[in-house]
Amino acid sequence: MINQLALLGAWWIDVLRELGRSGVLLYRVLFYPPQIRRGFPLLLQQVYSEGVLSLLIIVVSGIFIGMVLALQGYHTLAKFGASQQLGPLVALSVTRELGPVVTAILFAGRAGSAVTAEIGLMKATEQLSSMEMMAVDPLRRVISPRFWGGFISMPLLTLIFNMVAIYGAYLVGVKWLGLDAGVFWSNMQSSVEFHGDIVNGVLKSIIFGIAVTWIAVAQGYFAVPTSAGIASATTRSVVYASLVVLGLDFILTAMMIGEW
């Protein structure tokens, strides 16, 4: 019995240590800023590989989610004779919740896992150590651009997701199911508030971006430098990031609704 408690205590201490190490890493990434001239092309490179290359999955998911929302929403709303509320239904669901959350989870799966694997592999093949010995700070060269790349890409991807999903809903609702386009858009406009809904959604996506990228970078940096270690770090990064996003979403939603 005492043994179990001791193990539990040891596990907790390990968790705290991991959190601490990741915290120190984040601190160093945030507060030792990269040199602008040399760091900018690196950053651009990362925005490309994390953001631009994720566009495909984000756009396709966005369209399908928007279309499904419209289809399901229409059939339920029609029972109450409220099918003109389809616009607001889709727009509010997407900009407030689905946009930031789904984008974050997809990003964690596609870009987050790639970043973790990349950094872990660089650690395992001694590339990071080589850089250190060559007096080049791997934090500035490798970790920091990937972190800022994710920070910048996430909100941009979320905006694109939102617009694409709403457009998908428009395609289904107006073009296919025959709702009136004017009613669709004008009801939407009167229910969706720019500051309350859209800006809050973007705020969420920024916070999710920080969380997902931080987790991805930390898991890669602290991965055990073997092939099994990298594999487990990659899966951990996706799982932790997804869970943290969902948890943060609840907290942020509670804060944002309570504000009103």
């Binding site: 592999l121 660089m122 093949t125 001694e126 590339q127 150590s129 080589s130 250190e132 010995m133 060559m134 007096a135 080049v136 700070d137």
Partner: protein, 269 residues
């Protein structure tokens, strides 16, 4: 200019999990010579290189490089000092996203403001020294293990460092690559006036080019001297290592229960 490039005095080091790697170790790396550090696997030879490079901090004692205590330097001074060191890792450590030319050019681009044409000249020169000038457009994935190590060597000498450290350079090499590397290490050391430290457990090759050697076993230095002195040294640990005896101070049998316990009486394993 100091006689000794690296001085390690009374150094002890243990890992975070408590495992003691070194206890009261004294090592001197004289300038301009090739020094070999040998010992059985797992005695922490790579750890020693990291201690010299300032990546790790000793628990006791000090490590001095060029007269400065390396583990007490600020980041900036540490990085200044590291520019004068080159390190060749066991697996080469080439950057996989850059080709051979860019890999060797990396330290030049990072630390100097030389023009493109100067960088090109220097890179090709370094590659020529290791015999791979024509391989400059290749990707690291297209290189054999031996070639990758030579490119890593070219990269390590790109900034003309004073000290160069080799982590197990002979491990897993075929005889020809071995011969190439041995020749390179010795010639570069003499031609460029480098100080080389070789960490290896390949007694024959290491002693063939070393000017001085240390043998580390069981957390301590068990013997040091010129290759001749080592080969005829007297301690038992030293002799087991040098001659490659399977049993001796480093035992053959991993600690286990007694024979009767495991094999007779149907005891539980």
């Amino acid at each position: 200019m100091q006689e000794n490039l690296v001085e390690i005095s009374k150094m002890s080091f243990s890992h975070e999990n408590g495992r003691v790697v070194f206890e009261d170790v004294d090592i001197i790396i004289p300038r301009g010579k090739v020094t070999a550090i040998m010992g059985p696997s797992g005695t922490g030879k790579t750890t020693l290189l990291r201690l010299i490079g300032g990546q790790l901090t000793p628990s006791k004692g000090e490590v001095r490089v060029e007269g400065k205590v390396i583990h007490e330097l600020s980041y900036r001074k540490l990085y200044q000092l590291r520019k004068q060191m080159g390190m060749l890792f066991q697996m080469g450590g080439l950057f996989t996203h850059l080709n051979v030319f860019e890999n060797v050019a990396f330290p030049l681009r990072e630390h100097t403001k030389l023009s493109e044409s100067m960088i090109q000249t220097l890179v090709l020169m370094k590659l020529q020294m290791v015999g791979l000038r024509g391989a400059w457009p290749l990707q690291p994935s297209e290189l054999s293990g031996g070639m990758a190590r030579r490119v890593a060597l070219a990269r390590a000498i790109a900034l003309d460092p004073k000290l160069i450290m080799y982590d197990e350079p002979f491990t897993g090499q075929d005889p020809i690559s071995m011969g190439v590397l041995v020749k390179l290490i010795r010639t570069l050391n003499d031609a460029l006036g480098l100080t080389s430290v070789i960490v290896s457990h390949d007694v024959q090759e290491a002693l063939s080019i070393a000017d001085y050697a240390y043998v580390i076993s069981n957390k301590k230095v068990v013997g040091h001297g010129t290759p001749d002195e080592i080969l005829h040294g007297s301690s038992e640990q030293l002799q087991q290592f040098i001659q490659g005896l399977p049993d001796g101070p480093v035992p053959f049998d991993y600690p286990a229960n007694s024979l009767t316990d495991d094999f007779l009486e149907g005891n539980e394993v």
